[in-house]
């Protein structure tokens, strides 16, 4: 079976500084991967490069998404193909309500798939169902996208988008950072409920906490722009107990 995501020897720079130095990663449908690592290891860069962030340049290597050349696709094409990045710092959009934005985004994806677009009324029904499924209320649907929201609310908003867009590959870029215990639980449970056999999740995180709510199949340690260690969920626990220092001595995995 073709892997959902297959990254080989990926190098990327920002302002001529190399941040990713040869990433290799394979993610199959139905799996949850955790990418852990200290600050500055390149975790967020990897997430953003996969979503096509304009500040980064890929200098070497390949990334295939469901068999397609991911790096040849524009950011909006990646999204329509089913790649979703939950931003570490979601951007606010003046004047545009969440409901309006979500419908436009979902319709862009549906149009690409050749499915009929949703009218406002139909869409509100769907949205209600999604909110119920993840156990949230509709208080911020009529508020502008991310504007005036707290850090936690913004993260929650990303997860709502994830629920509505139903991507094949969800990358959560430090979605857990800055959340209090209750908010983390809510977000993690929502993500866990969205797991599907035909989709995969990559959780980029600095902390072990979120992995107590979403059990990963594979844990990777990123250091100096490379994956230096991969293992089962027990690796996450080991990192929690011993910190990241010890991983630096390990040889990068092939």
């Amino acid at each position: 079976m073709t892997p959902l995501l297959e990254i080989r020897n990926l190098h990327a720079t920002a302002d001529a500084r190399e941040i990713l130095r040869g990433i290799d990663l394979t993610v199959n449908a139905g799996e949850v991967h955790a990418i852990m690592g200290p600050n500055g290891s390149g975790k967020s860069t990897l997430a953003q490069v996969l979503a096509g962030h304009p500040s980064f340049t890929v200098t070497e290597g390949t990334a295939r998404f469901a068999g397609q050349d991911l790096l040849a696709l524009k950011p909006e094409e990646r999204a329509r193909e089913g790649l979703f990045l939950a931003f570490q710092y979601p951007v606010s959009v003046r004047g545009i309500t969440n409901a309006y934005f979500l419908r436009a985004a979902l319709n862009a994806v549906r149009k690409h798939r050749g499915e009929p677009e949703f009218g406002p009324v139909e869409f509100m029904d769907l949205l209600d169902a999604k909110l119920k499924a993840i156990g949230w209320d509709d208080t911020f649907l009529e508020r502008p996208v991310n504007e005036g929201l707290s850090g936690g609310e913004k993260k929650r908003n990303e997860i709502l988008q994830l629920a509505v867009l139903e991507p094949r590959l969800a990358i959560l870029d430090e979605t857990d950072s800055g959340l209090d215990i209750d908010a983390l639980k809510t977000v993690a449970q929502a993500v866990d409920r969205l797991r599907r056999p035909d989709a995969a999740t990559v959780i980029v995180t600095h902390y072990y906490r979120i992995l107590t709510h979403i059990e990963p199949d594979v844990v990777h340690v990123l250091s100096g722009g490379r994956i230096v260690k991969s293992g089962g969920k027990e690796l996450a626990l080991e990192l929690e107990e011993k910190g990241y220092e010890w991983t630096r001595d390990e040889a990068p995995v092939a």
Partner: protein
């Protein structure tokens, strides 16, 4: 500088002709008021950019153009104005003015609650002048503004809306100031609006400035708005003058205790426009929202000059102005907030956000806070810049094409302002109007 004396002489001559004509039949108090106003105008003359309040706006094009007073509507205007009047609810009270003079055949007045007056100012002054006289030119002072002075000097018609205590008018009251913009005639009109709401009254008023043709004319408008104790007034001001026209306007509002005023101001037309808004929060608990949006392109210039005067304690003023500026357009915003000594617990907020769609577009924004009380909350902020690259990427990462993403971010500047409009029907109508204008950008549409 152009010969300032020549310019004022020209207006003095216009005034003499006007005063010697139909205006001579007016009551003495009104004639005296006009005389004082033209005197004041000739003393002041047109402002120059050397004056702080006019630093960013040159009215030289207005001063130099040989405007003449409109001779009054000619021919059959019913069909011509029908298009301009579309979208108006049939059950609404409507006053239509053509080049400043009431057009009764285009106006309609359904049955109104007892004591409510919606009529032309000329009719009100002839029929029952006590109430209009009590307020007319008492608020918008001819002393400090040459344009208000000029409007007052030529005061002959306009709209008079008055609600007695407790009265409510549900449907929006529509005022149309229609400019015919006749080819080759540089006409000048002086629309005047007086709105007086008694204690606990409630109304919605729409003040529209529209043009039948793309003529070069000048509208010099003044509106006085008196909101009584506990009254609730929502005013929609929609400036859609011709793209060749000039508009100078003053809105002067006075709010009594616990009154609520929402003033939504849309500036879409005119080659050069200036709107002075003054609001006095003159009773404790008064609540004001000034909510403005301007959409400019080509060489359009729009200047919003606001002064909010917190006279009494426990008042709230929230001021939001957003602009979308394309091509060589120039937007100016001045937000002066005065918190008088003793106006404690003032809650004042001001924002001005400008989207610059081209490198030549320009926005000047200046907050001016004068605070003489110590227990107040005053915030202000302004921005000017192109579309946010990070926001564009964010929207694209959700599947939207660059065009759709840019359109959405642009529209957001308007939508933020529209979202504060309380009347759903008007909000929808004006939202559609702005969306159409924004869509014209892509098609290279030049008309406002």
């Amino acid at each position: 500088m152009s010969g300032t004396a020549d310019v004022t002489d020209r207006y003095l001559a216009l005034y003499r002709a006007f005063a010697g004509n139909g205006a001579s039949r007016s009551p003495v108090w009104l004639r005296d008021m006009r005389e004082a106003a033209i005197d004041r105008f000739t003393e002041m003359g047109f402002p120059s950019t050397k004056q702080e309040d006019w630093r960013f706006t040159s009215v030289a094009p207005i001063a130099e153009a040989p405007f003449t007073l409109s001779a009054g509507p000619k021919g059959d205007l019913a069909s011509a104005t029908a298009a301009a009047l579309r979208g108006v609810a049939t059950n609404a009270a409507r006053l239509v003015f053509v080049d400043g003079t009431i057009a009764p055949q285009l106006s309609s007045l359904p049955s109104l609650p007892a004591g409510v007056r919606i009529e032309s100012l000329a009719a009100a002054l002839a029929r029952d002048p006590d109430l209009p006289r009590e307020h007319l030119a008492r608020h918008a002072s001819a002393e400090t503004s040459p344009f208000t002075a000029l409007n007052t000097a030529f005061l002959s018609d306009g709209a008079f809306i008055s609600l007695p205590a407790g009265a409510q008018v549900e449907a929006p009251i529509e005022l149309f100031y229609v400019a015919t913009g006749v080819e080759g005639e540089a006409t000048l009109s002086h629309p005047r609006t007086l709105i007086v709401l008694g204690r606990g009254a409630a109304a919605t008023v729409v003040e529209r400035y529209v043009a039948l043709r793309d003529g070069r004319y000048w509208t010099n408008a003044v509106a006085e708005v008196v909101v009584g104790e506990g009254a609730h007034l929502e005013v929609y001001r929609v400036q859609q003058e011709s793209r060749s026209a000039y508009q100078v306007a003053t809105t002067h509002a006075v709010q009594a205790r616990d009154s609520v005023l929402r003033l939504h101001a849309l500036a879409l037309g005119a080659s050069l426009s200036r709107h002075d808004m003054y609001a006095a929060l003159a009773g404790p608990g008064a609540d004001l929202v000034l909510n403005g949006f301007y959409l400019l392109r080509g060489h359009q210039h729009a200047d919003h000059h606001t002064i909010i005067d917190h006279v009494e304690p426990h008042c709230t003023s929230h001021e939001y102005f957003n602009g979308i500026l394309g091509e060589q357009a120039h937007g100016v915003f001045t937000g002066r907030i005065i918190v008088r000594e003793g106006a404690q617990r003032t809650d004042s907020k001001q924002t001005n956000n400008n989207l610059l769609l081209s490198a030549e577009a320009r926005a000047d924004s200046q907050p001016q806070l004068e605070i003489y009380a110590d227990d107040v909350k005053c915030t202000h902020g302004s921005t000017a810049g192109p579309l946010d690259e990070m926001a564009l990427h964010y929207l694209r990462s959700r599947g939207l094409s660059p065009d759709v993403a840019a359109g959405m971010l642009t529209y957001g500047f308007a939508a933020e302002i529209m979202g504060r409009m309380e009347h759903a029907g008007l909000r929808a109508e004006l939202d559609a109007l702005v969306r159409t204008r924004l869509a014209e950008r892509g098609g290279g549409g030049r008309r406002a």
